[in-house]
């Protein structure tokens, strides 16, 4: 129960202001289609440079939590999910809004988000120290396999094509080797002076997540979005709370599904929302009402996508292995303050770790309170023309990348990576495994080198890396995740071929 001692730190004036600002800003950003939670957090990192580590993380954590929930606003009022995590919310939320129940749908979505979110963060609070102690048993070979696992799982599960997903991970691992080698000091792949110090993670994250969005907005041309904001009538919050309690099944299914899915690296909020929606529908006696503006659909989807936020950070805080792209961005936020998460995070920096986690808990409550009031404004912001959004995001990216080290080289790297990623994404490659490769590359290499030294002095490389229950288990999970994804891809291809033949 150590976390209770650090609750006070969240309420220091600056921390609380950052939490509030991050929550309200995140709700508005989340409602804006095209601005994903990962991109919002990446663009916010430069603003944390001058803050203390805990305060910087409070801002990033608040933005992460509330952008996921804020995406429900545009899903309900505009029928445009603010983020992929809110796709399932659109199914019933928008229909409710069209029936004049927009306020009720929004209230249910924020209340369900808060319940799911609080449960997820509690899971983070109680699981993290246990896993942290367990992680002490990890040696270099295990950490090497764990880093590889992080890349392969996200590469195989997060991409439409397993091979292209894994290839994206490989590109990320290679990019991580650019610069000077840590042990021998040798130059590796430095083909431009901007790369002398290697690829800066923050600049790369901004480029990989923001620039493809900017270019996608350009590619749409001078189009008018035409989405009409549905007016929100007044609705009592108390009545919405009673309504939420009326549907405990959907709330429980959503919360549990989201929490479990959050723990699996690489499986994001989009999957959590859709799986929870589908499961609630299966177990509901009113399954016919799903899709026609049924509150259970909104409750299940929103509780799930916020419940996955907390657990998705467990692998990051215990093993320093980010389980999702947003966790990878948060890792970037920790690294710039010289804090490396892992087994000793809670011993060396308990104030930072617990203040951050506690702020996420309080952030869920603030998000629920302010979400209801900010929703109308957020929906209007979501209507800002894409031309404005593209120009704003591009300028923020340039300033953000430059401010990391006051280097134009970082700006060039940001732009090149972003440009490359845009074209690669158009052909089925994915940014998430590339980012994970870039972040986990140094961890994998450092542990590989350390492990090789130990192995050469003891049992030999093959025995060291390929024996022992934990090594074998991790190798098994790597192979199993790839095999499962290949099987799923082949099955889906077979179904498509059958459908095409029937058509």
């Amino acid at each position: 129960m150590e976390f209770i001692y650090y609750f006070g730190d969240v309420f220091s004036p600056l921390s609380f202001m950052l939490l509030l600002g991050g929550t309200i800003g995140g709700l508005i950003l989340g409602a804006t289609p095209g601005l994903s939670p990962t991109m919002a957090v990446a663009l916010l990192i430069p603003f944390t440079f001058q803050l203390e580590a805990a305060q910087g993380l409070i801002l990033l954590g608040a933005a992460y939590t509330s952008t996921v929930a804020g995406g429900a606003v545009s899903a309900i009022l505009l029928k445009i999910p603010g983020a992929p995590a809110n796709i399932a919310t659109t199914l019933d939320g928008h229909t409710m809004a069209k029936k004049g129940q927009g306020a009720k749908a929004l209230q249910l979505s924020f209340l369900a988000s808060a319940v799911g979110g609080v449960f997820g963060v509690l899971l983070l609070i109680f699981l993290t120290p246990v896993l942290s102690d367990w992680a002490l048993a990890f040696g270099p070979s295990h950490l090497f396999w764990l880093a590889i696992l992080g890349v392969t799982v996200i590469g195989s599960l997060d991409s439409a094509s397993v091979v292209k997903g894994l290839l994206s991970g490989c590109i990320g691992l290679w990019l991580a080797t650019i610069g000077f080698d840590d042990i021998m000091g040798a130059q590796r792949f430095i083909f431009h002076p901007s790369l002398g110090g290697g690829i800066n993670i923050i600049a790369a994250l901004i480029g990989l997540f923001a620039i493809p969005q900017v270019l996608t907005m350009f590619a749409k041309g001078r189009q008018v979005d035409g989405a009409e904001v549905i007016e929100v009538q007044k609705h009592s919050v108390l009545a919405a709370t009673r309504e939420l309690i009326r549907w405990p099944r959907a709330l429980t299914i959503g919360t549990l599904t989201g929490s479990i899915i959050g723990l699996i690296p690489g499986v994001g909020g989009q999957i959590a929302g859709l799986v929870a929606y589908d499961q609630s529908k299966k177990f509901s006696p009113e399954k016919d009402k799903f899709g026609t503006g049924h509150p259970e659909g909104v409750i299940a989807a929103e509780s799930a996508n916020n419940a996955m936020v907390g657990p998705s950070l467990v692998p990051l805080l215990t093993l320093s292995i980010p389980g999702s792209p947003t966790a990878a961005v948060l890792l970037g936020g920790l690294l710039i303050h010289g804090i490396f998460p892992g087994t000793d995070l809670f011993d060396n920096h308990p104030d930072v770790a617990w203040t951050f986690i506690n702020s996420m808990l309080i952030g869920q409550v603030l998000m629920c309170i302010f979400g209801l009031y900010v929703a109308g404004l957020a929906a209007r912001v979501a209507q800002v023309p894409q031309s404005v959004m593209a120009a704003v995001v591009l300028s923020l990216s340039v300033f953000g990348a430059y401010s990391v080290q006051s280097s134009m080289g970082d700006v060039y790297v940001m732009a090149c990576l972003g440009l490359g990623m845009f074209f690669l994404e158009r052909f089925g490659f994915s940014a998430a495994p590339l980012v994970l490769g870039l972040i986990l590359g140094p961890i994998a290499e450092a542990n590989f080198t350390q492990g090789s030294m130990i192995a050469n002095a003891t049992v030999g490389q093959a025995s060291y890396f390929f024996s022992g229950p934990l090594n074998l288990f991790l190798i098994f999970v790597v192979i199993a995740s790839i095999a499962y994804s290949v099987w799923m891809e082949l099955r889906s291809r077979r179904t498509t071929t059958k459908e095409e033949a029937l058509a």
């Binding site: 021998m184 900017v214 001078r222 300033f399 690669l424 590989f448």
Partner: protein, 151 residues
Amino acid sequence: MSRTQHIIPSGIVFLVGCWVAWISFTQQPVEAFLFPRMISMVFVALAGWTFAKALLGKSKVGLGLSRTMVINLAPGLLVMLVYVFWAAKGLGFYTATAGAFFILLSLYDPASHSDIKTWVKRGIITAVFVAVMYGLFAQLLSVYTPREVLF
């Protein structure tokens, strides 16, 4: 989407993979390139597989690029490249941002180009945005950006 569209990106990725492998296996000291060697083998294998699939016309994942998309994208991309690779340093961050922001708004804003009011509106939005950026980065975060023309 045409086969050529798949061949070009997968071909480039394959060439990059081969280049990485060549560097990894020819450069010294060997110890510094052990990890890159390992990655490059997987990199080349996966990139080769992807390229072969593209050549055989079996690559289907991805939305590709349509002609309309390229036409829409080209002016914005050009502005972005000039802004990032020349104007930001050559003209100074704030002047370049003001110029790029205004041009992008003008290019992609669905509002009429013949109405003077829309131009005034774009000008005001640009001025407010640059002022906010100046306040945030120059004043709040004390980031010293290159300044050449005006401010």
